[in-house]
Symmetry: C2
Amino acid sequence: MLGLLSLRPQTPYEITQQVRRSLDYCWPTPERSLYDQPERLVGLGLADVVTDREGRRRYQITDAGRVALRRWLERASPMPRFHNEPLLRVLFADQGSVEDLHRVLGAVRAHVAERLELGLAQMEPYLDDDGLFQERAHVVTIVADLVSRLLGALDDWAAEVEQVSADWDTTQAVGLTPQVRAMLDRLIDDGRTRVAQHRDV
Amino acid sequence: MLGLLSLRPQTPYEITQQVRRSLDYCWPTPERSLYDQPERLVGLGLADVVTDREGRRRYQITDAGRVALRRWLERASPMPRFHNEPLLRVLFADQGSVEDLHRVLGAVRAHVAERLELGLAQMEPYLDDDGLFQERAHVVTIVADLVSRLLGALDDWAAEVEQVSADWDTTQAVGLTPQVRAMLDRLIDDGRTRVAQHRDV
DNA sequence: CGGCGCAACCGCAATTTGCAGTAATGCGAT
DNA sequence: ATCGCATTACTGCAAATTGCGGTTGCGCCG
């Protein structure tokens, strides 16, 4: 919230737009709460409110707010958490049909394609070196890069699972088919390599 | 919840353990709510409660519960949402110091290594073909595969950002350095390829 | 046998959320 | 010109969720 206000003073509605457009990629937030938060910040002295020519309340960050934002950036961050309901459905796929499994995988892939398309449209303006938003191009690019990697991982995974499960005729007690076995071996191998690499550093 | 009970009847505490151990990867849940949900399921007739020899309430799924679970698997799934606070800190990194940025990237990499190690320990038993949990090995492996891919993406990304930002001496108005530019180009290129691929199918 | 710690839970206040509603503005069709 | 309808820009409220702290009982160590 303070981060958003640090970019420019905004009305509550503009904030909701901003969040829908960009923040949702890393921090999904119910719209309702976005209308209450700015008031809370005012109460804490971290933001104040000015009325602009259209008579709209426009919140802006105060000096205390900027300090609080900097403090927040200094503090240790909680680590990412993935709310992944399609994955949950795969975990319990043995309680449903093979079609259920394939449907959810297809939905994931369609979703990835849609998100990616949307994201591309948002990033393309940055390709012009003379765009208006260039002073934040570096952070925006880095963020987009992770989003793109995560979506890519999701897509690759869904594609592989589609393949692996293509010839299943039941979801239960499939156990370790050679393909699943290969998946498991690769996964453990990759994990070990990565952990080992980390220890070296 | 129903999914967990479908595996075997469980006490509320066992459920919390189970969730901590495995479900957290796709569905992080505050412990508190796990104690209320089973009662709610009983109210809906989807679970019932038996008292075992230790005098503990043990919840088990009813037939209605299994039907509800199957219905749930048939319905369209909400798509994944990533609560990624480190990414949020990168998005607003220009309000803080270069050290703040590097600290959060380091923390992410450490976290990935830790999670991976934990996950490996959990998956290794499945390598034995004669393990006890083999009837769910296929779904568990598939789930672990996505988790591993997502963690891998996170790690690769953090490593690249560490590299790209290694010689920054400010976080503000860095704009498109050649390295960031290359990142942007690759990202857009990858995205276009993937979207095009999706249209072909 | 007293103290300590941990496993296993639950009450409660405070916050958060979804949903439904509403007022204002634009805009195309009749 | 004006009617209907969609979209923008919010807000109230009831219900659900959550964090925090507390409790009980058990085992183990000194």
